[in-house]
């Protein structure tokens, strides 16, 4: 294996190296060690449920899974960015709910203009994200607390503007119908949105200096500051991005359910997105993580959930199975690292 590690850092040795030579090793390196175990877990889950019920691996069901994970997947993608920066956004679910009612209400009150509805939702999302960032940076409020507060406050705002009711009905409009049921090249529109968003964010993180700066900020903010990176700009932008994509998720929520939902369907998304990001290899301290890993985790969790339902396993067993499989996936993945079992794992 290798020579030594500096005592301060017992790291997993199989970090993907930037700029390593190609070949079959290049592919492996690109997937990365963490992701490799996720791929393994995913294959195991698919094989298991596919054997139990061949329909599980039908193209129809794969689309069902993809559609089911779209909303939480979008949030997981931006959560990944925020976590790499060293932050956390616990308010994504509430933001999605607020965006959902906004889109439906603006749609209804502007005489059924879908673009205005969607635009207003995205604008609100961006504004809230920006506000989160400003509260954190200039109010010096710890990101966890600030977005916890946002979790409550934005949910309250969504409930206030909607009076707690589902708002409007959008599935009379072709744009929303297209979002909800349309397909492009055989794949649901929603899934395309997830793919495009993920690809864009992946490119941003991997191929641009912006992305590299994001890793630098999360890895060591003093170093990043001394290197002249404008931390505040990046961090606020990360939260604004998170708000905007959360709003997109809210719009999809509206399209899927046909009406603006202040709470229903968006509650709990924060935990799901953080779970996916963490399982996908994000370190909550920041500086580490990848969109590929997060998407794999999203797929794994989605396949698991779908498979359990396909097998008709009841809600209680599903909870147990999900918890157990989550832990199992990580343990298996860590076994390969052969890290010394001392202290908290990263």
């Amino acid at each position: 294996m290798t020579t030594t590690t500096s005592p301060s850092a017992q790291l997993p040795k199989d970090q993907p190296r930037p700029g390593r030579p190609g070949g079959p090793r290049g592919l492996l390196a690109a997937i990365g060690g963490q992701n490799l175990s996720l791929v393994g877990a995913l294959i195991a889950v698919v094989a298991l449920f596919g054997t139990l019920n061949p329909n599980f691996v039908s193209w129809d069901n794969i689309q069902v899974i993809a559609e089911a994970v779209t909303i939480s997947g979008l949030l997981a993608v931006v959560q990944t960015v925020v976590i790499i920066c060293g932050g956390l956004d616990i308010s994504v679910g509430s933001q999605a709910g607020l965006a959902s009612v906004t889109s439906a209400m603006v749609f209804t009150s502007t005489g059924a203009d879908p673009y205005l509805g969607i635009g207003a939702a995205l604008a609100i999302g961006a504004a809230i994200g920006l506000f989160n960032g400003i509260v954190i940076i200039y109010g010096r409020v710890n990101p966890t607390i600030a977005t916890l507060a946002g979790l409550a406050a934005y949910k309250g705002v969504a409930q206030l503007v909607s009076d707690g009711r589902a708002q409007g009905y959008v599935l009379g409009d072709p744009v929303f119908v297209f979002l909800s049921r349309g397909k492009i090249a055989g794949l649901p529109t929603m899934v395309w949105l997830l793919i495009l968003t993920a690809a864009a964010v992946h490119a941003l993180l991997t191929y641009t200096d912006i992305g590299r700066n994001i890793y630098a900020i999360g890895g060591n903010d003093t170093a990043a500051r001394l290197a002249g990176i404008n931390l505040n700009k990046y961090l606020i932008s990360a939260y604004a991005l998170s708000g905007t994509v959360a709003a997109l998720a809210g719009v999809l929520l509206t399209a899927r359910t046909g009406s603006g939902q202040p709470v229903s369907g968006s509650e709990g998304l924060e935990l799901q997105s953080i779970t996916a990001a963490a399982l996908g290899g994000c370190v909550l301290k920041g500086g580490k993580g990848s969109i590929g890993g997060t998407l794999l985790a999203v797929a794994l969790l989605g396949a698991l959930q779908n498979g359990l339902t396909v097998q008709g396993i009841n809600a209680f067993w599903q909870n147990v199975a999900q918890g157990a499989l989550l832990v199992a996936a990580v343990i298996i993945q860590q076994r390969r690292n052969r890290e010394r079992a001392v202290g908290l794992p990263a």
């Binding site: 500096s6 005592p7 301060s8 060591n220 990043a224 001394l226 290197a227 002249g228 990176i229 580490k288």
Partner: protein, 526 residues
């Protein structure tokens, strides 16, 4: 905010180079700098000296835009600069190699170096080919291409490599450097890198760059410096020409008194073997055999990456032992973890104080007492009074400069933090004390104190193993010197046999024999 016009007395107005004018800085109740006016002329190396906590790093931080002065201003070639961020200073051509390297853990060395100004093509695409070209060229240019693999991740770097990354950062950049400050750059480098660094500094001087050099190593100061500025208690104690002064005069200027002698010469080594290592092999060192007797001071010498720290960690129970035996006081030890080592009577003051030793958010008292709590407690309740007394005693003996022992270690200067690390282990008085670079960043007065304490402990029968990259220290302290290279011992010298040349010859024994370079770049073995 800048000082009100008209500006105070000596107008460095037109003098070329980098100047501080009437600079003061307060941290809460601590007055770190008081009305400092100094000029660092171009094409000269100006050494900045002073005791730990005298305000050197703070002054450098102000010059490089990382701190705003409470009063006063910074000038470059007579032009007042408005430095709001380190970036402003960078753009003005002012660079610093900070005392504590700041490394980004999960990205490569190359990205670490150019963070903030990564090469890019259209659409902000990162230009990886250019990045590689740059790092290869810069490494070669600075002479570090043998010791630093640009693909290593930040978290995999040794202390020395981290330091090199900081040096690379300062040397590169769009605007050519006009002034460069080195804040104790050699404290984690060994001779080999030090030579490369000095050559580099020589080149900088020749290029007309103002170099500020902070160090506690007298030898280096006289080797390098043209002028010497001394800070005491945050004020300028004097500015002298290097040629016109000597060590004792400098010390007097720094500490305000004479230091009789640095090293305590004594012969107290006994025949009682305390540490007996036989054929010890770990992942990093192989076949080490070593003895340290009661009252004996043994130094481990060697170049960077020789494996001394790894050996120390193995003896302290923190690296799995593959084969071989370790006996302490005649009893074979099973060193499962550091706890076992400490219980057996081994203490290690590790080399990287921030990463391996300090609890920055906790007080000096807390940090000092940590491994002595067993004897300060009753029914597991810690006696606050005894604890305070203990911490105060060692803070006083090591002259830790802080408002009180209740100050958070985070707020201390680098040297004072190092003293706290030592205080922790000196307070415990283990049978075998391993000190890895004990005087790293420590001022000369405190060094003398530390040497005195080492001598006292030896006289009380403690066996002491010192790892040091400072040859004068090795020569001055040790009764016996063990030299290592590539994870093996290459020889042993008694005090009488030891000279710098003899040590270096052993440290590079393999290379001399085979004619290869001192060390292969790390990382490509994996």
């Amino acid at each position: 905010m800048t000082a009100p016009e008209p500006s105070p007395a000596p107008p460095p107005g037109s003098s070329p180079g980098l100047s501080a004018e009437g600079v003061s800085k307060r941290f809460g109740t601590v007055q770190a700098l008081k009305d400092v006016t100094l000029t660092f002329p171009p094409g000269q190396v100006t050494a900045l000296m002073g005791e730990n906590g005298a305000g050197k790093s703070t002054l450098l931080r102000i010059l490089t835009g990382d701190h705003r002065p409470t009063e006063g201003r910074v000038l470059l070639d007579g032009q007042a600069l408005d430095l709001n961020s380190p970036q402003d200073a960078r753009r003005a051509g002012i660079r610093i190699i900070p005392q504590e390297p700041e490394i980004i853990p999960h990205v490569s060395v190359a990205e670490n170096v150019y963070t903030g100004s990564l090469p890019r093509t259209g659409l902000r695409r990162l230009d990886r080919a250019e990045l590689r070209r740059r790092i290869t060229a810069d490494l070669k240019h600075l002479g570090f291409d043998k010791v630093l693999d640009p693909d290593l991740l930040g978290s995999e770097l040794t202390a020395a490599q981290r330091q090199l990354v900081e040096i690379l950062r300062a040397m590169t950049g769009q605007v050519p450097p006009r002034a460069i400050a080195f804040d104790e750059p050699t404290s984690s480098l060994s001779e080999h890198e030090v030579e490369a660094l000095f050559a580099l500094i020589g080149r900088l001087r020749a290029e007309g760059i103002a170099v500020i050099y902070v160090s506690h190593r007298m030898k280096e100061i006289f080797q390098l410096a043209d002028g010497i500025a001394v800070l005491r208690d945050g004020q300028v104690a004097g500015v002298v020409r290097a040629a016109a002064t000597d060590e004792s005069a400098l010390v007097r200027l720094m500490v305000g008194r004479d230091l009789s002698s640095l090293f305590v010469r004594q012969q107290v080594a006994t025949d009682r073997v305390v540490l007996d290592v036989k054929n010890l092999t770990t992942d990093d060192v192989s076949d080490i055999s070593l003895r340290v007797n009661a009252g004996e001071v043994v130094a481990l010498a060697g170049l960077i990456g020789a494996g001394r720290s790894e050996l120390a960690l193995a003896l302290a129970g923190d690296a799995p032992i593959r084969s071989g035996t370790v006996e302490l006081g005649g009893k074979a030890l099973r060193l499962r973890d550091p706890r076992a080592a400490i219980t057996a009577g081994i203490g290690l003051a590790p080399e990287e104080r921030k990463a391996q030793a300090l609890f920055l958010q906790r007080t000096i008292r807390d940090n000092t007492s940590l491994v002595s709590l067993g004897r300060l407690r009753r029914w597991r309740f810690v006696s606050h009074r005894q604890e305070k007394a203990l911490a105060q005693e060692f803070a006083d003996r090591l002259r830790v400069r802080a408002p009180s022992i209740e100050a958070e270690v985070r707020t201390l200067s680098g040297g004072n933090q190092q003293k706290v690390v030592l205080a922790r282990w000196l307070a415990r008085k283990p049978d075998l004390l391993i000190l890895d670079e004990p005087t790293r960043g420590v001022d000369i007065g405190a060094k003398a104190e530390i040497y005195q304490i080492i001598a006292d402990l030896a006289r009380e029968g403690t066996a002491i193993l010192v790892i040091s990259s400072e040859l004068p220290e090795v020569l001055g302290l040790a009764d016996r010197i063990v030299v290592m290279q590539n994870g093996r011992t290459t020889g042993e010298l008694t005090r009488d046999q030891a000279t710098e040349e003899a040590i270096l010859a052993l440290a590079m024994a393999d290379d001399l024999a085979t004619g290869t370079t001192a060390h292969a770049p790390t990382g490509d073995t994996r």
